[in-house]
Symmetry: none
Subunit: 437 residues, 2 copies
Amino acid sequence: MAKTIRIEIIAVGSELLSPYYQDTNSLYLTQRLNELGLGVVRKTIVGDDEASLVRCFREALKRPGFVFTMGGLGPTEDDRTREVWARVLGRTLVFQPKIFDHIRRRFKRRGLTPPASNRKQAFIPKGARILPNKNGTAPGLWIEDSGRTLVLLPGPPAELKPMFQDLVWPRLQRLRRGHSIRRVLKLTGLGESVLESEIADLYPKDDPLSVTILSSPGQIEIHIYGRTDRSRSSLVRKARLLEKAFSDRLGDFIFSNSGEDLEEVVAGLLKARRKTLAAAESCTGGLLSHRLTNVPGSSEYFLEGVIAYGNEAKTSRLGVPAALIQQHGAVSAHVARAMAEGVRRRSLSHFGLAVTGIAGPSGGTPQKPVGLVYTALAWDTGTQIEKNLFLGSREYIKFQSTQKALDMLRRHLLLTGKKPAVRIRGRKGRRIKGKVK
Amino acid sequence: MAKTIRIEIIAVGSELLSPYYQDTNSLYLTQRLNELGLGVVRKTIVGDDEASLVRCFREALKRPGFVFTMGGLGPTEDDRTREVWARVLGRTLVFQPKIFDHIRRRFKRRGLTPPASNRKQAFIPKGARILPNKNGTAPGLWIEDSGRTLVLLPGPPAELKPMFQDLVWPRLQRLRRGHSIRRVLKLTGLGESVLESEIADLYPKDDPLSVTILSSPGQIEIHIYGRTDRSRSSLVRKARLLEKAFSDRLGDFIFSNSGEDLEEVVAGLLKARRKTLAAAESCTGGLLSHRLTNVPGSSEYFLEGVIAYGNEAKTSRLGVPAALIQQHGAVSAHVARAMAEGVRRRSLSHFGLAVTGIAGPSGGTPQKPVGLVYTALAWDTGTQIEKNLFLGSREYIKFQSTQKALDMLRRHLLLTGKKPAVRIRGRKGRRIKGKVK
């Protein structure tokens, strides 16, 4: 077998050729394959019609290596992946009673009998190995043919992922080529251009490591990826050194080096410090609380959220004096402070976190433009307020506002916890003045 | 020329084979081509390396029709699209001084001279027509070769889109093949299998219309797509008839026929009826309010949200009697009702919408498993409560819960508004008993 294995992915489905759908399964598959040091050399997206599938599969067979197909294993007329592979390989379709039993049992559990159309899912190309589907009716298939391997996976992610993890991944272990490593640093509070100018001189010039910067409003990820056929320990050491060099430069602008999202980091810190939190939201409209409660077990630290969208609610729910709103406007440092302190006082939580701003697209004025957002964090002995001007769509402004609020809390928890505060110094020892763009 | 034109898209770029990047250009291209009645039959994503490109382009040449390639026209070593096409077509590369002049002028405007690497962008396959690039250095190319047409476009969307619009679109007009139409119906409250059994007999057997069902937890979309070389009005009439047939069967399980999301539909109904809303959330943790406030102008109808995550908050914030929680548990029809009525009373809104449930992954019991969710809608003269058992991850359970809550409000607004209530009858006049899976 060739030293590097050629892997292709084919996504089957006419909807993936419309302007409305993307093949996202291949991203998962690629990530998992990368973990084995295996890369994907081509992805193809093809429709359901027989002629297109035949042509596409026939061509794929001429190229060496592995082919993963995803989709087209369902019970409907449009599901032709099994049949077309059988035809292209010149194999007959054989009925497998145990597949049909599995389908029958799934239907029976819901008090149903499978319609005739499901029967076709039990016909598989002769010699194919069955990959049972715990989460659906369509079994996956593993076919070896003259040195090539074809892996047929179902399209729904909830079926594909567990099947890959449980049944395909173990079989791929023998293909593992050398070693690979990926480290992901996540940052907030810095713009991409500032980041680049701070760390560009550290980028590795040669293999085995490469660095990719992925930037979106409110967050930047630095991906360190490495692959080697030689020593794993040397690869790990090199990656660690590079990560350390980035960390020294970027300090606590980095909130995570293990894939965690900002809300997970904040959740971990709150739990570790045994602190509770309540949120008061205006322009973010629930997104801050939604993110905090996406973390399993959030009831340990998240007491309540108040979405005080109207001014009456700010007064009645959070005790923001009506006169304060009158005098400074609902989008002001004064009101942000009163919201954070109000929600903290009324919920009896350790921290109160508040956001008020203008998410747009309308409602801005020259003095208070769309994207103006105040965030405030209240604790027992003080309140911190920040003012930002975020760019982008309504949804981006909402997201960036929650990033800012969560990051204020994260930094506060870092400073007040046992972990010593890190001084943030840029290259040449100067303070980084970066901001979210 | 063949009656239907075969169009393929090839996206060039190794980053598009990583787990972190998607080819999004092809969605734009597909949408524009669909407007001309032209469909895309295949999309391929291929890396930058020469061997892969040669193989991919060579294979594409064997298939008839149009090939759009995107990317690989830049000045770096990794940009090989021009050279590889020249090689595969057996054409020499010729230097075009006017391209290099354009590049020089772009650099000069910024007070720079182009590096040597940019010179290669001025070499094009002999006989290619130049598509000047207003927004970058890389010109696009239009190559005709033995009945095939190759269109080479730059990768950055800000360069590709204007180039396509200004220079490619007009040339494609002559290919316009009749007319196309797409209608999207969005539904909630029905499982996919129930939906299929209700409407499968209506699916068009022949052209010009096709139907695609796209299902995700809590929502189903029916896409009606049609293309014809003949009369546009006949196509439109057929699509309308099919849509009408679906609507007659599915009634108000359909919440939108114009692309709107459920929260937008609810927002529109609330505004039209001049009604206000307040939300009380437990397991959805802010997602319901977040979705409602994603709609611009939501402050017109959304007064406030309360995320009463802990039991204390349910009592203090919403007036849910502690004894009620004690007796029935926080996840119960009684507490859902009290939450909806409480938030309505305290906010002085027309409607109170509440959700309480177990989003998991932990916290379930045999009596109250993960996914058990109560939703309640309170209005001036009554309260409606629904109990559901949703499957899936924490995030899916949160989403499905908000779908259910929003749909209760939508249905209530439909019934109480001016539009007459539609009785929902399935095929053969029986009541559809479908539920979200």
